[in-house]
Symmetry: C2
Subunit: 268 residues, 2 copies
Amino acid sequence: MLINGVPGDQISIHDRGLQYGDGVFRTLRIHKGRALHWSRHYHKLQQDCTALKLPCPDAALLLDELQRLAARQPEATAKIIITRGQGARGYAPPEHPDPIRIVSLAPPPSYPADCYTQGVKLHVCDLRLGHQPRLAGIKHLNRLENVLATAEWNGAGAAEGVLLDVAGNVIEGTRSNLFMVREGELITPELSRCGVAGVQRERVMEWAATTGMPCRVGQFGLADLLAADEVFLVNSVIGLWPVRELHGRYWTRHPVSMQVREWLNAAD
Amino acid sequence: MLINGVPGDQISIHDRGLQYGDGVFRTLRIHKGRALHWSRHYHKLQQDCTALKLPCPDAALLLDELQRLAARQPEATAKIIITRGQGARGYAPPEHPDPIRIVSLAPPPSYPADCYTQGVKLHVCDLRLGHQPRLAGIKHLNRLENVLATAEWNGAGAAEGVLLDVAGNVIEGTRSNLFMVREGELITPELSRCGVAGVQRERVMEWAATTGMPCRVGQFGLADLLAADEVFLVNSVIGLWPVRELHGRYWTRHPVSMQVREWLNAAD
């Protein structure tokens, strides 16, 4: 891995990423030595940095660092972390921050094939996401809600957890975005008060626009999800998983999910 | 500083403290080589670790490490960070975590004397704290709300920012707990949905019990705060600051605040 372009795996304990979770990150796939959907990931990284008033490193610099690592590990999962670096003691962000960029590669995912063919079981998490519009949508380093939610279902036969918010709206998976298909319409949760808006969510919406399938971003609850014709989840590491089981409801056919996945895998 | 008892100032980038803010911390004063109110701080640390299912290091071990550092720097501000350490990739906390403890000392505070004698000006932050009962009260490492709120007022003539929650309740300062005095009663915000419950807040409540002054933990808004006879804030580094100015309202007399401070400074 590279820290500000230099091989290493240690960071100062004074870094605001550790002290306050003051930073953002992205996770993406390296395939055949290439960073998949790089321009979309960079665009999100830039938006997230802007939201936190964090200077975003140059796209070419980050891509060069990804490619240096990918040359030796052409199939991988990549993670980019940008922190606000060090500063004076206290919460106040430094006026002229010196951000740290960490680019690292891990082995590619190896999920069971039936997650893709049969679909997965979802657990409904007890933890409810709090509303914080100033942080909603951003892939920032304050992820304790995800940690606590994942601890609920991990190892309990489910492959992902569904997160609702304090108002009872379905928001996302603990590490993925959710879609449902109902009467020929695609619907995905609105993320203005909590949740993370991922690159693959954006791509699914683009698929809908391309094929002419109506796609709506809105509020809905668990009962709506259970009434859906299909449910699927996406993220940049998993790709797309249809949902097979949720809260006693079973789905055996996933025709729209399969079409979306085919498009996601083919398009670039 | 000491990391797991060994001098050093670097931590692995795989540490969950950096990756997810998966950890807790405490800030306390070292005076004449002693960690002030150590047993209270340790008790809170232990409670916070329990809430996150994080094994808490032994009290004697932490105190020994604080004292090793304090021997060379008898007047200081100490910070203890406990992270969940490293684990497999992903949000799921490891079943048998290997926590990291970081004990570090910084120079003692040097605030202007008039913060203590005249009191301070408070800024009312635009950012509203979200409700997350599972994290409320805990001094955890997910502090982006505090960072964003502090960025609002820092350098703008105020010495601290007041944080309200999404429902409009007054909750705390960005790095302190708040009290108001009204008609002979002490009132401090309820922290079951957001905020951090500090050691000095607990001590002020103990002062009230000792002196027989009624002390109530409850919900109140900005209008109530402005109608108070006195307002003051506390934390373990600052001690106690009376509030002189807030939202166009001025206070010139702080008799209860001064009594509380005298007791806080004298008691141990």
